[in-house]
């Protein structure tokens, strides 16, 4: 088991956001978490990345190690958990190259960094043309590519993606998911949260449905796509 999350509880200002979420991800899988706005999808990812404090009783392990023993930067640099945050959150004031380089801040494997950069530029050719451009000047699609590229550079055991489809035209969205599938084939496990349930379930092998901070359904993507409750609530009937 790569990542296990057990009884994850998070509160913001005494309002419970997650009421004990549990799930597991095996190495090499693509798993999605779907749910409505406010269901707790982003909070789940933030908790794994140690950006929000979790409540007592929560257990999270990554490759058998206690995730809660690692601060946010070490989750990335020592465990290899990368996170593409909601809204991409690029450093607009830095160039494309600087955004990618910053993601390697704690890495010491200079040679591998060079190879990884080349790999990012071969997956996302548009980025290599725009290396010295400020990230703030990129189009929406290019920004999403850079956000994924940045995660690729920072740590690659698992990539957590928060709404990668957001704000993208359908064709661009397909491109991004194709690239993610390619990254997955090269060995990176993927956990994606999406409001676009159909897209997410077509992309992922398994899925979890989150409602009001709880997992209410889980299963193989095919099963979930066929489930009448999922159809009614998330796939437009």
């Amino acid at each position: 088991m790569l990542l296990t999350v057990e009884d994850l509880r998070v509160s913001y200002d005494n309002i419970k956001a997650l009421h004990g979420v549990s799930f597991r991800i095996d190495e090499g899988e693509i798993v999605c978490i779907i749910g409505a706005n406010g269901a707790g999808k982003s909070t789940t990812l933030r908790a794994i990345s140690r950006l929000v404090p979790v409540e007592a009783g929560t257990k999270m392990t990554f490759l058998g190690r206690d995730l809660l023993q690692y601060p946010a930067d070490k989750v990335v640099s020592e465990l290899g958990i990368s996170h593409v945050p909601e809204g991409r959150r690029l450093f607009d004031n830095l160039t494309v190259m600087e955004n990618l380089r910053l993601a390697t801040f704690a890495r010491k494997d200079g040679k591998a960094i060079g190879n990884d950069l080349e790999r990012v530029f071969s997956i996302f050719r548009r980025l290599s043309e725009r290396q010295d451009q400020k990230a703030g000047t990129l189009s929406g699609g290019e920004q999403q590519m850079l956000a994924v590229g940045r995660a690729f550079m920072s740590g690659r055991k698992i990539m957590l993606l928060d709404e990668p489809s957001m704000g993208l035209a359908p064709l661009l969205m397909m491109n991004v998911f194709d690239s993610l599938a390619e990254i997955n084939r090269e060995g990176t496990t993927i956990l994606v949260v999406e409001q676009n349930a159909r897209m997410a379930l077509q992309f992922a092998g398994r899925g979890y449905v989150l409602e009001n901070g709880r997992v209410v359904l889980e299963g193989r993507s095919g099963e979930l796509l066929a489930d009448p409750r999922v159809k009614k609530a998330y796939l437009g009937g």
Partner: protein, 307 residues
Amino acid sequence: MVIFLQNLVNALQWGSFYALIALGYSMVYSILMLFNFAHGDIFMVGAYIGFGVSIGLLALSSSGALAMPNWLILALTILFSMFLTSFVGMIVERVGYRPLRNAPRASAAITGLMIGIILETGNLILLGARRVSFPSLVETTVYNVGGVFVTNKKIMIVLVSLLLTLALHLFVRRTKWGMAMRAMAFDFAVVPLMGVPVNTMIALTFAIGSALAAAAGILFGVAYPVLDPYMGILFGWKAFVAAILGGRGSILGATLAGFLLGFTEIFVAMIFPSTLRDLIAYSIILLILTFRPHGFFGEPYSARLRL
């Protein structure tokens, strides 16, 4: 014309102090949205550390154990004091500000003022209520350039401060730590996701700002060799004004604004009675800020979200 140039030379020296101190304010503010109101007192502590280090080095040199020329003693004093004062900055951050990282900014501002008072009174307790004289390490040489008097000290002060500013600029632009600082200034909350240890970076920022303030303190001691525990207060406030005037986090802005402040003060004093100097000089600055509230190079607003 000669009077103008003479004042220009004086203003360059005076502005150097403001510029070096303003950089520390500006760096910390750009990353933490926090004004380190103890920074002026760190300038004072830096000057005193410089005093102690130079006395020590002079004694070492004159005892014959390790004879050094005075210029070397001054250079070593600047370097050692910058190094030592950087720890003062890091301790202030660790003890004073880090516990308040998520507290309202007013709490941190008040804490800064209190830390300043602690540093001032701490100095009084350690050294007593007397002024100390910074040892004269450089014999003043006066050059007469077409009627304008320039001293070797003034040249040295302006050059050293410009050199340090340039070094900071290169650090921020060319190194990965500088890159991380620029990223933190833009969007603090996502920086940990890049594997960047945020607390280390904040400590580094305080260390660099404090080291620059220490350099300013020693250069000040070279030009005006009387130190007192309260010397940092007014200087600190004025450098703070320079940091605001320069714009958030802008190295170029803080430097230019520091010099502009120096010029304004010196030239106001040239025309008006010197008792009115600050009143008139800072009215001018206030007027500039009315038209450019975010300073010369600051962003009009900052949309920083929390993750």
